[in-house]
């Protein structure tokens, strides 16, 4: 009975809209095994390569109209001046599958870049308020919260909070007392007034005097959650853990958000490339005893994630393992957390 009624409905639909493909009842599951969906996917596979050559086209997908019929959605960049022309060029149907244009924003990786309402959580975009030089601005991640001398401080990397060591392109060198903002300049259109001061730098110069890349900022009252909460992770343990081969780890950072990885190397001696200020002259530092994490296609760590805290990958109160600071498209590197804490005279804020 049910199927009979569906067929009648399909016939009526065919008369009224000749470009619509007749399918079974909308109550059928429209998964990839459904014949109509498979037809739509074939149409999608046929047309997508050519469409993606157009700068205005951001992507395609198989969707459904209000009647539950599969349609081929084509996502058009709403900010493109040629969006209208691109939409006009689209066919009305491909292999009998209706084409539906949708104006959308550009697709971006889901990192932690937005301006939070205080008190903020860590694992978020942040940086030195003056980190603008040579026509570029730079930012990283405010990774965690630590205690130093009974006072809470934001933990990140030296090259994120105090990396400007020459007057060079902006006439400034990072100094104790400088504001640290959230989000960082990269997410504020390079304008510090778009960010909020969440701490003040306590300059430690770790890159010049230690085997770590770390820095701290004294928390501005009321601006940072006092429990040390990290976006996507929660409250960490205040106890640290040592790294071991094939340990599962996770982190939250500005660019790639919360990601999971595996430690595949220990005791690394590595030469790391730095700049003396944002987009400035290059210099190198060699570290010993570093932790290496597999980073295929930068999926675990990417530019902007510097300063993220790396923790063991457990659900509740994970223990910190390292402070992430460098990498390439295959590998990520972290300072062992105990080395960082020893240099700073700090302990973790957490459970």
């Amino acid at each position: 009975m049910k199927l009979f009624l569906v067929r009648i409905a399909c016939s009526i639909t065919s008369v009224l809209a000749s470009l619509t493909v007749c399918i079974a009842a909308p109550s059928d599951v429209l998964d990839e095994n459904h014949p109509a969906v498979r037809s739509a996917i074939e149409a999608q596979n046929e047309i997508t390569p050519g469409l993606m050559e157009q700068a205005e086209i951001l992507g395609t997908a198989v969707g459904a109209d209000a009647q539950g019929n599969p349609v081929l959605s084509v996502f058009v960049d709403r900010d493109s001046s040629a969006a209208g022309a691109a939409m006009a060029r689209l066919p009305r149907a491909v292999r009998g599958i209706a084409v539906r244009a949708e104006l959308v924003d550009q697709v971006r990786a889901m990192g932690y870049t937005w301006k939070q309402t205080p008190p903020i959580s860590l694992g978020t975009s942040g940086g030195w308020t003056y980190d603008l030089a040579n026509k570029y601005c730079c930012s990283g991640t405010l990774g965690a919260l630590v205690w130093v001398g009974g006072v809470q401080h934001i933990l990140s990397n030296n090259h994120v909070l105090e990396g400007d060591t020459v007057t060079g392109g902006n006439g400034r060198i990072a100094q104790t007392g400088d504001p640290i903002i959230q989000p960082g300049l990269v997410d504020d259109e390079c304008a510090s007034y778009n960010g909020q001061t969440v701490g003040t730098l306590v300059k430690k110069n770790s890159l010049n005097v230690s085997n770590t890349d770390c820095a701290i900022a004294k928390v501005t009252a009321g601006k940072v959650r006092t429990d040390g909460n990290i976006l996507g992770i929660g409250i960490p343990s205040k106890t640290t853990a040592a790294a071991y081969l094939y340990q599962k780890v996770k982190k939250s950072g500005r660019t790639t958000g919360t990601t999971h990885g595996t430690i595949t190397g220990l005791n690394a001696t590595v030469k790391v490339t730095y700049t003396k200020e944002c987009a400035g002259a290059i210099w190198y530092k060699t570290f010993t005893g570093q932790i290496l994490i597999a980073n295929p296609s930068s999926s675990f760590l990417s530019g902007g994630d510097s300063g993220s805290l790396m923790l063991e990958d457990v659900a509740t109160y994970p223990r910190p393992v390292g402070l992430l600071f460098a990498g390439n498209t295959s590998q990520a590197f972290a300072n062992p957390i105990n080395s960082v804490l020893a240099f700073l005279g700090a302990t973790m804020v957490g459970h």
Binding site: G127, Y136, C137, C138, S139, G140, N157, H159, V160, G163, G184, V186, D213, A242, A243, Y244, L245, Y246, Q247, R254, T255, T264, G265, L266, N267, A268, T269, V270, K271, V272, T273, Y274, T275, C278, A279, T286, T288, G289, Q290, I291, L292, L301, S302, G303, G304, D305, S306, L324, F325, A326, G327, N328, T329, S330, Q331, A332, F333, P336, N338, S339
Partner: protein, 90 residues
């Protein structure tokens, strides 16, 4: 020295020194080879046999010739993964 190779077996039946000691004894000479970005303690693809893994910024016959295939009894594996950079966002 931080981060000893805890999970991998360090000494087989041979009298090889600890792999971390071997790394400490040879890391500077390896990093002095142009194109070498790092060296670390890892394992072979069996996830069991300890080895020294050398990170290369680029792959050339000259670099490969300069790096031994074994160091003090430990296999050496080359990884061409490119320069290692501080990961701020610019």
């Amino acid at each position: 020295m931080n981060g000893g190779a805890g999970a991998a077996e360090n000494n087989s039946s041979s009298s090889r020194p600890d792999i971390n000691i071997v790394l400490a004894a040879h890391d500077k000479e390896l990093l002095a080879i142009p194109g070498v970005a790092g060296v670390y303690v890892g394992t072979l693809d069996d996830r069991h046999t300890p080895c020294l893994r050398v990170i290369l910024e680029r792959d050339t016959p000259e670099i490969r010739k300069a790096i031994p295939r074994h160091i003090e009894g430990y296999p050496v594996v080359l990884e061409v993964t490119g320069e290692i950079r501080a990961l701020e966002k610019q």
